[in-house]
Symmetry: C3
Subunit: 258 residues, 3 copies
Amino acid sequence: MRLEQLRHTTPLIHNITNYVAMNSMANILLALGASPAMVHAREEVAEFASIAHALTINIGTLSADWLEAMQQAARSATQHGKPWVFDPVAVGATQYRQQAGRLLIAERPSVIRGNASEILALAQQASTGRGVDSTAASDAARDAASELARATGAVVAVTGEIDLVTDGKRLARIHGGHPMMPRVTTLGCSLTGVVAAFIATSEDTFLATCAALACYAEAGRIAGAASSGPGSFSSAFLDALYQLDAGSLPPVEITHVE
Amino acid sequence: MRLEQLRHTTPLIHNITNYVAMNSMANILLALGASPAMVHAREEVAEFASIAHALTINIGTLSADWLEAMQQAARSATQHGKPWVFDPVAVGATQYRQQAGRLLIAERPSVIRGNASEILALAQQASTGRGVDSTAASDAARDAASELARATGAVVAVTGEIDLVTDGKRLARIHGGHPMMPRVTTLGCSLTGVVAAFIATSEDTFLATCAALACYAEAGRIAGAASSGPGSFSSAFLDALYQLDAGSLPPVEITHVE
Amino acid sequence: MRLEQLRHTTPLIHNITNYVAMNSMANILLALGASPAMVHAREEVAEFASIAHALTINIGTLSADWLEAMQQAARSATQHGKPWVFDPVAVGATQYRQQAGRLLIAERPSVIRGNASEILALAQQASTGRGVDSTAASDAARDAASELARATGAVVAVTGEIDLVTDGKRLARIHGGHPMMPRVTTLGCSLTGVVAAFIATSEDTFLATCAALACYAEAGRIAGAASSGPGSFSSAFLDALYQLDAGSLPPVEITHVE
């Protein structure tokens, strides 16, 4: 089982993430069984990315210095054969974020994880002009994810009420989670770290990403049943991740899209 | 009811706040029903402030780059008719903070929210030399708040055991809350975001600020009754904000000071 | 009792710490009864360090600007007779951190608190070439701590399953705590603040450091007994610190090493 493998390995996950997410993400990775480190100085990111088992980059609270460090870290990870996950927070919201998205996609992430509108925004940038069909929200996200996966070579995960994962050939849907999850800040950002921990300790990036999302959804379902608001949910969610039994996870539904 | 209006609108609140507060503030805004975003890069703050429904600026963990971004964001908010709330953390503590206070007051905040000593420090800066009567702590805060409101055109909220709100003409006192609140970090900073969420979705800034403080005090009262220390209080406070029933809020006492 | 003295004084603790730890550390200091402030701008750190009762410096999320501010703050603290605690997070991991460690040790911290590998890395830097005996992990940490204490004049605390504290002459072992503690992020970083709060309100830095660690271990033991995962542990830990009865702390075992 991938979760047991992760817990046995305790992978070191190097995160360049936003200020809001740092504490929650570190707690979520520790609860799961990984070892988080937040390191962003240009003086050391490349060296640290070569030591860690995987890297995550999140543009939530961006600035010029950090963007430069993100590019250096991503390049070092790729050079040293370490997988990295890109989290394009609000990538369509400002011109600066669109530019950051382009620069980081060029560093070839292993996985891109975002919500539907972020994946749509990236796919439109990456597409050769044909554009993305957006007649229906979920179809649009699926088509955008497939197109983005093919254009970049990354596994693309679109998370929301139902999660989609695709490598351009296979498509998985992960059900579960809980309606309280969007009322707790940075659960999406933290999931990016969980994806990194799974792909760092598994050979098939697509299946490892699916396993990460399935674990998260299951912990969300358990926490939701045990809480009465976002405060008690946060606490119960960490406990659920810590106690998660790899044997009891629901199966992931995978289809072939080509 | 203003709380129902807020929940219906889900206002996007742009926050340039201190590192300590970011996570708590985001969770508090989400629990209440608003949509928080933390964005501070000079490359994008002006653009983002024009998109959001309201802006907050908090000088808790200040630095030169951020102060510049704060000024740009505040200017953009004012230009685009978006209200903004200023939180002058420890404004009297160092010369640098005094200077930051002057620069940001000059950008004409809609609301200034601070504790008694912060409001006193700002009022002394804004006053024309007459000084602030400080014979008694609560009287001093009331007089300083009125003077600051008249000098700046902002609604001024002094939060503490009893909250005071004034626009220079009307004065409101909000009772409630709980003695555990000062033992949880950044509850004051986060309240600044809650004020922004209310004024973004209401026409009368003074009454909207009163409603924000009344909701916060009531959630504090509920959480205090259900907790045995600051850890359980934090969790119960988020749950209480999430579950808050707009119909059961205690009335706010308003007097006319002119 | 040192805890009662601390609560009576409510010392103002100036922290230049990493982004991950800030919120947790502030909450832990407030729960304990101290008053935390996070201030890092070069424009004000020296002034603020002269106002506060003690200073902490943590290199977890380092950058060039901050390192400069850390040096200025440490120098100001030393000049104004204020104690300061150094937390050398991952000091051996990159060349940049090794350099930061050397620069900050040169500013003469009152206490150095780290895990065994961090203290070993610092001791190797500080040693005159003889190296540190590393035949057994706990012996190595003890010898490194003593050597580092003698080389720097600081009290050295090595925290882990069993904590060691030494001033080069006396050696204390603090038992207790709980296995859940390493699964919650920044409990070590926050302990650095707790040490600062104790040494700010006590004359004997060695004994005050021991008292800080004993309180922390006891709160951990209480929280561990009341929780079922890292989420409920965090909440219970803050409640336990808040409720901690100074009279019920277990004794600290002290031996003389010279």
